[in-house]
C-alpha cells in the first residue's frame, strides 16, 4: 500500500463520517468518488487485497433483494461479508463499499463479498472484482434512455463475462435471453427456474417481447408464461429449448404467511406473498448451494427476511394503512398492478412519477403496462403526483380510469389518510423513493404524537 492509497482510504472514511454526522444518511457514492479522485485505481488495488470469495449479482429486477438475501444468509452463518446492500452498484458505489470496508492499511478482512453490479458498469467492474460466481436474475426492458435497447445490455454483459471466463455463471433459465447468453459465454453454467405456472394474468404485460429465438430468429413457442418473457419455451425452428433447471422450485403454495416451495429436496417457507420473490430466494439459494456454502441456517433467515429493503414500506398514518412501492420499469409496474388486483379491499392509489436522471428521462414505458386490471381492483381514487404527473394521468385516461393530479404528495397522503378508504398504496419511481420514505416516517410519527 502506498501513501496515496492510504490517503484515499482515510479521506473517504472521513468524508463518510462527516456525511453521516451532518445528514444522518449513509455516504452514498461520494466517498468512493473522492477516493478515486485521489487514487484513480484504488478499486483494483483493494480488489487485490481482498482474499475472500466474490459473488456478483446482476439483472434488471431483483438484484438488490437477492444481494441482501445472500448478505444476510452468509452473515447468519457466521461469515464476514462485505456488501453494497444499499444498491449503489456503479463504479463509485462499489469503490465506496471497498474503501469503507478496508482498514487504514487497506486490509479487507472478509470471507465473502456480495456485490450487485449495474449491467452497464459490468465490463468495467467485473475484471477488477474477479468474481467466483456471477448471478443473473433476468433482463427486461429498463431505462432505455440510458441502456439503449436490450441487445446493447446483453452485449455489455457478454463482454463482461468474457473477461472472467472462470467465474461460475448462475442464470434464471426461464429467461430465454439469459439462457441464450449462457450458450455464448465461456463460463460454467448452473441454472434455476420455476417449473409450474404460478403468476396470474394481471402479472403479465399486454405485449410480449423478446420472444424470438436468439439462435435462429423463429418465434418461440411457450408452454406457459410467468411474466415478461419468463416462462417455459422452445423454438419450433431449431429445436432450442429452455434448459432443464439444475435448481427448480416445485410444489409452490401460498398460505397465510406467504409462499412456500420445495427446492431440490428441501422445503422453504418464505414470509413473502409477492410471487416474484420466489425467484429472488431461488437465485440466492442456487448461488449458495453451488458454492458449497452450508445453508443450514438460511431457512430461518429466509423466513424472517425483510424483502422490502426500504423499497417496499408499510406505515400507519391517521389509522390508515399506507404501503410504499418502488417501480422502475414496465415489468415491475405490472407486478404491482397484479398486487393491487389481488387485494380485494377498497383502496386509494397515489402514483408519483418523476423524470430525473435516476428514473430515466423517458416515461413511455408507462404505456407498456396493462392498466385494465385496475378497473376491477376495488379502487376508490387514483391520484398522480410528481414532475410528470400529467403523463401518468394521461396514461390512465386512455384506459378510462379517472385520476386527479395533485402537486404535493404530503397533502395527498394526509387527506386520503383522513378521508379515504384507510388502505393507501403509493407507487413511486426511483428518485421519489427516499423522500417518500422520509415523508411517510414523519407523517407516521406525527399521527402517533397527535394520538
Amino acid at each position: 500500500m502506498g501513501l496515496k492509497e492510504r490517503l484515499a482510504i482515510a479521506c473517504a472514511k472521513l468524508a463518510n463520517r462527516m456525511i453521516r454526522m451532518t445528514t444522518h444518511k449513509k455516504g452514498g457514492t461520494f466517498p468512493g468518488c473522492l477516493a478515486r479522485l485521489i487514487k484513480p485505481d484504488i478499486l483494483p488495488v483493494l480488489c487485490d487485497m481482498f482474499h475472500g470469495k466474490v459473488i456478483v449479482t446482476m439483472g434488471t429486477n431483483g438484484k438488490t433483494t437477492v444481494n441482501n438475501i445472500l448478505y444476510r444468509t452468509l452473515s447468519a452463518e457466521g461469515k464476514k461479508v462485505l456488501s453494497n446492500s444499499t444498491g449503489a452498484n456503479m463504479l463509485n458505489g462499489i469503490t465506496t463499499t471497498f474503501v469503507l470496508g478496508a482498514d487504514t492499511k487497506g486490509n479487507l478482512d472478509f470471507d465473502y463479498a456480495c456485490i450487485e453490479v449495474d449491467e452497464l458498469a459490468a465490463s468495467q467492474v467485473l475484471p477488477l472484482l474477479r468474481p467466483n460466481c456471477v448471478l443473473l436474475t433476468n433482463i427486461f426492458r429498463d431505462q432505455l434512455d440510458r441502456f439503449g435497447d436490450i441487445d446493447t445490455v446483453l452485449c455489455k454483459i457478454k463482454e463482461a463475462l468474457f473477461t472472467v471466463p472462470e467465474a461460475q455463471l448462475i442464470i434464471n433459465c426461464d429467461d430465454s435471453l439469459l439462457a441464450a447468453l449462457a450458450v455464448l459465454c465461456p463460463n460454467p453454467v448452473v441454472t434455476y427456474g420455476i417449473n409450474e405456472q404460478i403468476f396470474d394474468n394481471a402479472s403479465r404485460p399486454p405485449a410480449l417481447e423478446n420472444i424470438f429465438c436468439r439462435i435462429c430468429g423463429e418465434k418461440l413457442e411457450y408452454d406457459f408464461f410467468h411474466y415478461g418473457q419468463l416462462g417455459c419455451y422452445h423454438c419450433p425452428g431449431c429445436g432450442w429449448e429452455r434448459p432443464r433447471p439444475d435448481f427448480a422450485a416445485t410444489a409452490i403454495s401460498l398460505n397465510q404467511q406467504g409462499y412456500s416451495f420445495d427446492l431440490n429436496g428441501s422445503h422453504i417457507d418464505s414470509c413473502t406473498d409477492y410471487p416474484y420473490n420466489i425467484y429472488n430466494i431461488l437465485s440466492a439459494c442456487t448461488a449458495l448451494r453451488t458454492m458449497g456454502i452450508s445453508t443450514e441456517k438460511s431457512a430461518r433467515i429466509i423466513n424472517t427476511l425483510d424483502y422490502g429493503n426500504h423499497r417496499e414500506g408499510h406505515f400507519l398514518i391517521n389509522g390508515s394503512h399506507v404501503q410504499l412501492h418502488l417501480v422502475k420499469n414496465p415489468v415491475g409496474l405490472q407486478q404491482k398492478i397484479s398486487l393491487l388486483h389481488r387485494d380485494s379491499t377498497p383502496k386509494d392509489i397515489i402514483f408519483q412519477i418523476n423524470d430525473r436522471f435516476q428514473d430515466g428521462i423517458d416515461l413511455s414505458w408507462l404505456w407498456d403496462v396493462d392498466l385494465e386490471y385496475l378497473k376491477t381492483s376495488h379502487i376508490s381514487s387514483v391520484t398522480a403526483v410528481g414532475k410528470r404527473r400529467h403523463d401518468m394521468a394521461l396514461r390512465l385516461k386512455y384506459d378510462d380510469i379517472p385520476c386527479v393530479c395533485a402537486k404535493s404528495l404530503k397533502q395527498s397522503v394526509w387527506n386520503l389518510s383522513l378521508y379515504g378508504t384507510g388502505n393507501i398504496y403509493i407507487i413511486v419511481n426511483y428518485s421519489g423513493l427516499l423522500p417518500a420514505n422520509i415523508l411517510l416516517e414523519k407523517l407516521q410519527h406525527k399521527t402517533r404524537r397527535l394520538s
Binding site: 439503449g148 405485449a207 424470438f212 407498456d368 414532475k387 394521468a393
Partner: protein, 261 residues
C-alpha cells in the same frame, strides 16, 4: 363510420410504448362514436392492405428490426401500393428507417422496403433527448422522446417538423422525420400520439377523408391533460437551451393553453 387500423408486428416492433399510439387512435375514434377495428399482425401473418385505412409500424432494436424486415419484404409490393394510394401510415423509429432504401447499421447493411427514397446510416453516438419540433400544420409544438443511433437522410422530402429542441434526423440538419403523401415517419416516441393529440387527429382525418371521399370534421375532445403533458415536456426539454425562437414558440404555446381554459 369505421376506421380499420393495422398494427404491424407488435411482437417485434414495439419499443418505448409505441403500441400506445394504437390505443390513442382507438380511443379518440371511440370517444367520437366512430368504430375502430384493430388488426394486430404478428410476424409472418398475411396482411391485406386493401382493407386497411391506417397502418402503424413501431420501432425495435437492430436485431428485431432485421427480423421484421425479413417478414415485411413479402409485403413490400402491397405496402408500396397502399402508400401510393394515399393510405395513412405512421412509422416510428425503426419502422421509419425500414421505409427507406437501406439502413446501414453497426454490423451490416439492412435492405429496407424502398417505399421512400430515403436512407439511414449508423453512428456510435446515440441521439438521446427529449425532442420538440414545429410543423405549421399543427398549432402546438410536437413533443416526444428520441433515442436512435441511425441518421436518416430524407433528400428532398418534406420533414415531419423543424427541430426546436433535440436532434432529429441527424444532429445538424434541424429537420425531423418525413412526410410523404399520408405517410409520417418519425423518431418520436413518447408514445408520439399521446402527448400530441393534434397529430393523432390529423392521421384520423386523413384516413376518414380517404375512406369516405370527403373531409369529415372531427368533434373536439377535452384535451387539457394531453396539452399539459406536452407542456411539461416542452418546458423540460427547453431547459439548457437558449434560443429565442423556442421561447417565442413556447409563449405562443402558452397562449393557446390559456385560451383553452
Amino acid at each position: 363510420m369505421k376506421i380499420t387500423i393495422g398494427h404491424l408486428y407488435p411482437d417485434l416492433l414495439n419499443l418505448y410504448g409505441d403500441s400506445g399510439n394504437l390505443r390513442c387512435l382507438q380511443k379518440r375514434l371511440e370517444w367520437r362514436g366512430i368504430q375502430a377495428e384493430i388488426h394486430s399482425f404478428t410476424a409472418g401473418d398475411p396482411v391485406d392492405f386493401g382493407h386497411m385505412d391506417l397502418v402503424l409500424l413501431g420501432g425495435g432494436s437492430d436485431r428485431e428490426q432485421a427480423l421484421a424486415c425479413g417478414y415485411l419484404k413479402e409485403l413490400r409490393h402491397d405496402f408500396k401500393e397502399f402508400v401510393e394510394n394515399d393510405g395513412v401510415v405512421l412509422a416510428i423509429c425503426g419502422g421509419y428507417q425500414l421505409l427507406g432504401k437501406y439502413y446501414q447499421s453497426e454490423h451490416a447493411t439492412l435492405e429496407g422496403l424502398n417505399i421512400l427514397d430515403i436512407y439511414t446510416t449508423w453512428q456510435s453516438k446515440r441521439l438521446v433527448h427529449n425532442i420538440v419540433i414545429h410543423n405549421p400544420i399543427f398549432k402546438a409544438p410536437v413533443a416526444g422522446f428520441e433515442n436512435h443511433g441511425g441518421r436518416t437522410h430524407i433528400g428532398s422530402y418534406r420533414p415531419f417538423g423543424k427541430v426546436l429542441a433535440g436532434y432529429g434526423n441527424t444532429e445538424d440538419s434541424g429537420r425531423e422525420g418525413v412526410i410523404y403523401k399520408n405517410v409520417i415517419g418519425t423518431y418520436l416516441h413518447g408514445p408520439l400520439l399521446s402527448k400530441n393529440p393534434q397529430v393523432c387527429d390529423y392521421l384520423l382525418s386523413q384516413a376518414l377523408k380517404r375512406k369516405y371521399g370527403e373531409p369529415i370534421p372531427l368533434s373536439p375532445l377535452p384535451d387539457e391533460l394531453e396539452y399539459r403533458a406536452n407542456h411539461d415536456m416542452t418546458r423540460h426539454s427547453i431547459a439548457g437551451y437558449n434560443n429565442c425562437q423556442i421561447i417565442k414558440s413556447l409563449s405562443r404555446r402558452r397562449g393557446t393553453a390559456s385560451k383553452r381554459k
